[in-house]
Amino acid sequence: MKAKIFPIFLIITFSIIFYIFYKGLQNSNIYTPEIKSEIKIPSFEAKEFFSKNTINSDQIFIGSEFYLLNIWASWCIPCKEEHKYLMDLSKKENIKIIGQNYKDNFVNAKNFLIKLDNPYDLIFSDNDGTIAIEWGAYGVPESFLIKNNQIIKKIIGPLNEKLFSEIKELTQ
């Protein structure tokens, strides 16, 4: 009897290990940070895109209005795709769109806005990408929906039809 316990135990252990690894095969090995919402926005200082004046984050996000912070760059292809959604959102009265120009060349960025139109109420530059880290972002494009200095939704990647209607619903 005693001799039998060990092989049975071994089989059970290996089955459990096999099961765990088998399950793990289906998991994506690309990690995306947990999407924490309801967190306070970071405070930072940045240069306004056109005038190059220094502005503070609490001069940008004021009061209880909805803000959509969009991190973009002229070299980023998905940013072109989501541009039409930003244009649509910019026509809405109750949401302000703030652009964060990420590691970009000023002339290229300006041409991008001239060519595709400017949906942003205000743009600030993030030349070394450190402000993006303050937001907990790691690439472009990324968008944050903000109300009362709180991030209520974080969007990694370009906006699409589904996310667009979701934002519309949230800001109703």
């Binding site: 090995n29 690309i30 990690y31 940070p33 947990e34 590691k103 070394d128 990408g129 450190t130 993006a132 880290i133 303050e134 937001w135 907990g136 790691y138 690439g139």
Partner: protein
């Protein structure tokens, strides 16, 4: 001949030692312990992605602001989660990770001990 070999060895060792000294900078130490989220599997220090380069600048900035190593790790953990650290802290998500080697060690030890005791009994 032997003296020449010895000399070359000594010169090599000194070179290794001095190259190691240069790398002993707190900023690089920290970025070596951070995982790059864009090219996963590389540390921020090794990576040359946009994200990693910004993070290197940010770490230097935070060090200039007077934050210590632990504060910087906490700051980044707060933003990106445990995943960004190569040395994750002890919390409910990592109990299994940290305790598994100890459990295996204890279990293995128990098996060996049993065998030894059984052998002694037979003798």
């Amino acid at each position: 001949m032997n003296i020449l070999k010895l000399l070359i060895t000594v010169i090599f060792l000194i070179n290794f030692y001095s190259s190691d000294l240069k790398a002993k900078n707190l900023g690089t130490e920290i970025t070596k312990n951070l995982r790059c989220l864009i090219c996963q599997g590389q540390s921020v220090y090794d990576s040359d992605s946009e994200f990693a380069n910004s993070l290197k600048i940010l770490v230097e900035k935070k060090l200039d602001d007077g934050l210590n190593e632990k504060q910087i790790y906490d700051y980044l953990k707060n933003k990106y989660g445990d995943w960004i650290l190569y040395d994750p802290g002890f919390n409910k998500n990592t109990y299994f990770l940290w305790l598994l080697p100890i459990l295996m060690f204890v279990f293995g030890g128990a098996i060996i001990l049993r065998k030894v005791i059984l052998k002694k009994k037979k003798l």
